[in-house]
Symmetry: C2
Subunit: 378 residues, 2 copies
């Protein structure tokens, strides 16, 4: 039985409900990123109020600090952090390969040095599964290897097979039935390897399937081609998660293809850089043109920041390096994303997703504010 | 007529209500410090909810950035910042002398270089009064010279007389009757000069009187002696403001003597350093002893932080340098101060301030958590 119930389909887009140990999550869902067990500059209360249902935490980070055993002892991540919604933990494969110093990949597992204190660590698929169970994640992810872009066919093929063997071991190591375990499809930019990865993982019958290794520098068109190839080999009844994406337009593209789950640092990281999302594109609040601007960031937005503050004041806070700037900007951007996901779900429910997609895309394309390039550094 | 109505006296302590253009402020009041027009890491919504009635902003900082004329154009500090309560602006005398580079004091005014970009500025008593009126402060402060500790009798005497002449000019320059103007008593650690400063300023009939130049390194006992000398020469019906103090025990001492208004960076700055106030003293959340501590910071506290998070989680956020740490800690410390001020006002209303004073002092003196020394770096 699948944890996901697909309630309605509208073209390729799907409306669903994902049952977790901490509530039912309506899909398509966007998960704000709370790497260290807190969404940067966002308070749980506000996350709940704006409709965040599930946040992403990172097993690699929490393993290093404060330690998965401490979190287990404190009753799991929800009790430890005070967050009452669902939590998905990324296994940390991506972080080990991007942050770890002197990493060494062997069949048995991966050796790396902590980015915090340089201490040496060895993590196996079995241990990273235990870490996520100790953390008490509602959805755990298999340990995978992320290959850089570009990588050779030979290297990528060997890596895909290693990721599948690691996935097998994660599945065997999983003890707690109350949480879900997702496999991660890799395969770089090779149709055949994406297909191979998906097919091999599906044989292992995971609770859901993620697509990883994107947004590492490959062209967007190739990424979507790889997503399409992969989706054709994933079972329709299982949840599908596109990792580390993205901008609102990326989410629309993903939903259109049948993706159910998304996460990205974009709304939070952009907020801290002063880049704010609106219905007509993004604006950079530090720009001098906003110094005397009495309007809210987005006149159509109902978030606390827009109801309370002008662009002029938010610009002042940002250029003055005030902590309240990060907080108010983050609140706005996450509210934008959460509202956007609600509108997506509503449009699928009403059978009008295609219109919503077209309307949103044309609005952003025409928006003069939309001047930044579309990349995700998740 | 005085803007302050003294509602009740209990020993030396006074319960009052101060009428401002943005509401009535119940005294004794503690003003959170919002130097740049925002209380660091605190959102207006939360400040209002915890009962903050008046915040302090800094004319020197706002003059430099975003500029007092911009704030005037935007309708004043309340409209600009979205804060609906009262605002007092410090003139910036203290900041000019502590932050300004190459400052040069003349009879006419003070020349200094901006701490932001090194630009050169000249401020007169007339201009700093205009700056505060442009900002739209409910309470403005005269430009004063803060002398360092120790300073000679001769230097301090000349400085006191300059401060009085500047105060005269500020009073003459004041145009808007809807805001109040306070004189600032200086005089260093000399009884005679404090008396002289107070007497001369009272002749000018200000709306209230502040005591400045404290917490610059002088012994606490000398400070209280100077406060006592000064208070004896201030009119009972006018508000009295002890600038830049302090710890809860300092506030109790001040209230006992008849001080109505306080401000200090302690609750907010300490919060960002992980030092949290409780009914039994302060605890430093970074301490390893809290790593597994499931209790809230203060089990008796009703703030959002204490209702939601454990010491263990707050410690994790602090050692992980998460922005949410600053926010949650600040919310707790300010809530502690606001609750403390409510209790003080309540005890005066009930005629039991002396018991409240004794009970609080003995609780803190006995508290094993109260290990930090009591200094204010306002």
């Amino acid at each position: 039985m699948s944890a996901l119930e697909v309630v309605k389909e509208d073209g390729g887009a799907r409306l669903g409900s994902l049952t977790t140990a901490h509530g039912i999550v309506e899909t398509p869902v966007f998960m704000p990123v709370g790497t260290q067990g807190t969404v940067k500059a966002a308070i749980h209360r506000d996350l709940a109020q704006m409709g965040a249902q599930m946040i992403l935490a990172n097993a690699y980070h929490l393993y290093l600090r404060p330690g998965d055993r401490l979190i287990k002892e404190m009753g799991g991540i929800q009790r430890f952090s005070g967050w009452n919604g669902a939590v998905l933990t990324d296994s940390g494969g991506y972080q080990i390969f991007s942050l770890g110093v002197l990493r060494d990949i062997k069949e048995e597992g991966v050796t790396f040095q902590s980015h915090i204190d340089g201490s040496k660590h060895f993590l196996t698929p079995e241990r990273i599964t235990e870490v996520q169970e100790n953390i008490g994640a509602d959805v755990c992810m298999c340990l995978d290897e992320c290959v850089p872009y570009p990588s050779s066919y030979e290297y990528t093929r060997a890596s895909v097979d290693l990721t599948t063997r690691w996935a097998t071991r994660c599945r065997e190591a999983k003890k707690d039935d109350s949480s879900l375990l997702f496999g991660i499809v890799q395969g770089g930019t090779f149709d055949e390897l994406r297909r191979r990865s998906a097919t091999d993982l599906v044989k292992l019958d995971f609770d859901g399937y993620a697509m990883g290794g994107f947004s590492v520098g490959e062209p967007k068109s190739i990424m979507w081609q790889m997503v399409d190839v992969t989706l054709a080999h994933l079972p329709r009844e299982k949840p599908r998660y596109l990792m580390g994406l993205g901008f609102p337009e990326d989410i629309l593209e993903g939903v259109k293809r049948g993706i159910d789950m998304f996460d990205c640092v974009i709304p939070t990281r952009h907020a801290r850089n002063g880049s704010l999302f609106t219905g007509t594109g993004r604006l950079n609040i530090k720009h001098a043109r906003y110094a005397h601007d009495e309007q809210p960031v987005d006149p159509a937005c109902t978030c606390y920041t827009c109801r309370t503050h002008s662009r002029a004041y938010l610009r002042h806070l940002f250029v003055s390096h005030e902590l309240t700037s990060y907080y108010l900007n983050t609140l706005h951007n996450l509210h934008f994303y959460m509202t956007f996901m609600k509108e997506i779900r509503q449009s699928i429910a009403q059978g009008s997703f295609e219109q919503f997609y077209q309307k949103s895309m044309s609005r952003w394309k025409g928006g003069e504010l939309n001047s930044e390039s579309s990349i995700c550094d998740g």
